[in-house]
């Protein structure tokens, strides 16, 4: 009896990698904390992308070496970073003017829940004993031109995260453009959620089963 390893869906790295394919040359991009941060390392060679971090830097570079490390040079996740040639520092007022004023092309964020209408919940479970903390998430979804979400398709207990309506407190209404899950790539459109790509060895029906709303299958042969 022989055993075979079959990949089912995308890993966290692969979700980031898949998302990175959609970051166009010349984009101004803000990456959220967690898996979204990994997107930068997978942007295809030859594309020049400028990373914004909302604490006041346009032109964020890679992690610093021990010699480069400066506790005054950090990203929005408070991790040490570097600045590229051609970077610029600015204060919070100007940084969020950049966000709110629709100057940033793409923001990649994680999600707790996404609704059929593109509503996003990613800052609070609404649990009464939790300390509420929002940071810049609401500003980013309200201001950035295109919002990409990278998320596991379901919760750890298997519950759908893509739902008719979010049950958690919203981060923003109708703000999500595209979802990259471990199972599929899904667009938020006026007609509804459209599945445009499947992860390896994942079927449309399987994704539909893990999703709280009806998906439109853009891959279906007419």
């Amino acid at each position: 009896m022989s055993q075979q390893t079959v990949q089912l869906g995308w890993s966290r790295e692969q979700m980031a990698q898949r998302c990175a394919q959609d970051i166009k040359d010349g984009s101004y991009v803000n990456l959220g904390i967690g898996i979204p941060e990994k997107v930068a390392q997978y942007v295809p060679a030859g594309r020049e992308v400028i990373y914004h971090t909302e604490n006041g830097l346009l032109g964020m570079g890679t992690e610093p070496s021990a010699e480069e490390l400066d506790p005054d040079l950090i990203n929005a996740g408070k991790k040490p970073v570097t600045a590229i040639d051609g970077a610029a520092y600015f204060h919070h007022g100007d940084s969020f003017a950049m966000i709110r004023g629709k100057h940033i092309d793409i923001c990649v964020l994680g999600a707790m829940q996404v609704s059929e209408q593109g509503d996003l919940a990613n800052w609070s479970t609404g649990a009464p004993d939790a300390i509420p903390a929002v940071g810049g998430a609401m500003d980013l979804v309200a201001g950035v031109k295109t919002i990409y979400i990278i998320t596991q398709h379901t919760t750890k207990t298997g519950a759908a995260k893509i739902l008719p309506e979010c049950t958690f407190p919203l981060t923003g209404q109708g703000v999500v453009n595209r979802i990259y899950s471990d199972l599929a790539v899904i667009d938020v459109t006026e007609k509804g959620l459209v599945l445009i790509e499947l992860a390896p060895n994942i079927s449309f029906d399987y994704v539909q089963q893990k999703t709280g709303v009806s998906l439109i299958n853009a891959l279906k042969q007419e």
Binding site: G86, G101, H103
Partner: protein, 236 residues
Amino acid sequence: MIDKRVTSCAAAVAKIKDGDTVMIGGFGEAGSPIELIHALIDHGAKNLTVVNNNTGSGRVGLAALIENGQVAKMICSYPRTANSTVFPELYHAGKIELELVPQGTLAERIRAGGAGVPAFYTPTSVGTPLAAGKESRTFEEQEYVMERAIKADFALIQAKQADRYGNLTFNKTARNFAPIMAMAATHTLVQTNEMVELGEIDPENVITPGIFVNQIVEVSNPLQESTLVKEGVVYP
């Protein structure tokens, strides 16, 4: 690759359309992007709404753009100059519209346009004719008027240094409206005295980050408006 350089002012202004709103930097001649304005005159787009603090001097630059009949409306704070009759004549003839805005309100409306703020309240102009027809509101026993953001299709500005990302520095008080207009326009066109390599502008000293800039043309020795006016030059 990000490279916002273009080779001529004509190329930079090529996409300006009839009816567009165009912000033009400068306070008097300081910071006036005169080569870009002249390129816009050559280009010929008409029925423009122009946002500038003033209405130009002599018969060059902004005054020449107005004289050439390309401007349907000026949004500005101080449309009088000692040395130009271009605007007054068209204004008296009813051929150009004027929206008069206090200088600081003009600046804040432009900044709001760039910052995604559709409206704000200000104490400026309360009780004056320039508050007429505007909503007013009391906060903590003081009256304020509500002012709306201004956005533009294009901004034409002048910089001292620029790199290919569009990071800019300015020279002294020539900075004036340029950084906020760069934020408030969909397309920001820059004429710069000098193109520099990435990294030559210290990230601490960038005044306008490149994200607010779309196209840059190097004009090493720009015309000086006051000199042209003194010489009685008429453009075109």
